[in-house]
């Protein structure tokens, strides 16, 4: 059974189409990054997964159920970008309150522990830093031991240390096999923590694949090798080669399939010091999500 099954989702606000005929399937245990610029439709899509917004067209199924059923049974939980917390509750009281709403909640100390905030249970929420409040939301989301955890830009406004600690907590938890989908516009977060990246632009998916695939899709890789008298036309004829350039006794090849190029260099030539580097995800992101991107049609769905 699929963890998330979105079929042809469309959501309009007046004349604006926030989500446009979006289809996405996530299998259990996947860690998926939902990456896109502001206003791409990430939060709207997440709101529909959580039943906070009703789609104009299309269907949402979470482990085969509607969002409302999944929420009622605690199978889905979320850490929202700006979910409200009550300032005059302590951290522990907030967790205790939320726990009391579930029939079989995990013990409060356990989720506080896993979110890394056990030491500040007695602190008033209003006195907690942004990072601590976000880890509190994470602790609350863990109470029902959800099968699917959704995080909407969970580290917005956190400092570097806060982000690092937050992701450490998520990462540790993910080893238990929870399905995780997180929205972010921090490319390095998507790169570092997701198995799979779904790139969204103007309410539609423009690319979907592993981090490596996404990078490759946008800008390809660069292969550099030390090689005297290279056969430039043979290199240029290899599958996926975009450009070949000779610089002194080095050769630089831009390509979409670095494996083919490297195999050729190492088996058919005397090339030494072969280096393969990829453009960072930032470049891929910009290329894929900019409005006039020619590459956007290269996006594929799994």
């Amino acid at each position: 059974m699929l963890a998330i099954d979105l079929q042809k989702l469309t959501k309009r606000y007046g004349a604006v189409t926030a989500v446009n005929d979006l289809t996405l399937q996530v299998t259990p245990g996947e860690i998926v990054a939902f990456l896109g610029p502001n206003g791409a439709g990430k939060t709207t899509t997440i709101d529909m997964m959580l039943g906070l917004a009703k789609p104009n067209a299309g269907t949402v199924q979470i482990y085969g159920k509607t969002p409302a059923e999944s929420i009622a049974r605690g199978e889905i939980a979320a850490v929202m970008q700006t979910g409200g917390l009550l300032k005059d509750f302590t951290v522990a009281e907030t967790v205790e309150y939320t726990a009391s709403l579930y029939p079989h909640a995990r013990p409060a100390h356990e989720v506080l522990d896993r979110a890394g905030i056990r030491g500040i249970g007695h602190r008033l929420v209003g006195k907690c830093s942004g990072g601590e409040q976000q880890r509190l939301r994470f602790a609350m989301a863990l109470l029902s031991d959800p099968r699917l955890l959704i995080l909407d830009e969970p580290t917005t406004g956190m400092d570097v240390e806060g982000r690092r600690e937050f992701w450490q907590a998520i990462r540790q938890d993910a080893t238990r096999g929870r399905t995780i989908l997180f929205a972010t516009h921090y490319l390095d977060e998507a790169d570092a923590y997701a198995d799979r990246i779904v790139l969204i632009r103007e309410g539609a998916i423009v690319a979907d694949g592993t981090t490596a695939e996404i990078k490759n899709l946008a800008s390809g890789r660069r292969v550099r090798a030390t090689l005297e008298a290279p056969d430039l036309s043979a290199l240029g004829g290899l599958d996926g080669v975009i450009a070949v350039e000779q610089r002194g006794d080095s050769v630089l090849i831009n390509c979409s399939n670095s494996d083919v190029v490297a195999r050729y260099l190492l088996t058919c030539t005397t090339a030494r010091d072969v280096e393969i580097s990829s453009q960072n995800l930032e470049a891929a992101f910009v290329a894929l999500t900019s409005k006039d991107s020619a590459l956007s049609t290269a996006g594929h769905s799994r």
Partner: protein, 259 residues
Amino acid sequence: MTPELAIASDRGATPLGGFNLTALRLEITRMLRNRRTLFFILVFPSAFFFIFGLSYKGARDAGDVPLAYIMISMAVYGAMVGNTSGGATVALERNLGWSRQLRLTPLHPLAYVSMKVLTSMALGLIAICGTFAVGAATGVHMGPSIWLMAGLSAWVCSFVFAAFGLFVGVLFPAENVMQFVGPLLAIMAIFGGVFIPLSQLPKGLQAFAKFTPMYGVGLLARAPLVGGATMWAVGSVVLWTLLFGIGAMILFKRDTARV
């Protein structure tokens, strides 16, 4: 990929839509943590009881009834503030996004509002008990059944202000809503005969008072002591409760359409 070993897949639904005593206890504790609320439901009524009652020599000389009258009036005032404060938190929490957070849990909206109303009523009860305790300690004498009936009547009738709190909360969903509503409550309290007996108001105001929300509450709370309960008073409490309750519901619906 790691198989889903540790995560339970067999789950039941939450009984009573999530209504439970732990959440209720935490809500009440949280409300009492607010110094302003605490001041207005405990300190203020007792202080006014001292000012109007004990230090008012005429009241002492006139026997037990005027002192008890003032005590009950002040208890009603405390209950009124407590209930309004509790009710007003609903809209505030909505504004803060806490309600949205709760929508990600199995908590049913009806269970949430019930817990809010009970929290408001608990604050009202604390106000009444506090003022009655101070009264008893400083020489108010009433028969046991009058203590009980007056307290109960004040408590039940002050429910109208839980609905009022819901209503003004949606109108002005701000953290300091009580700062604006406080003076409004004081004016309403005057028309309920809380600070001075209605009979001492000018005739025109006395007639007007009958149509205000506090009128029936004050009259019914003091009825066990001095009598005078009327159908008008009962109708006033019921009608104002319905009016505020329905008004709040309509405003909430309008808000939901926008969100």
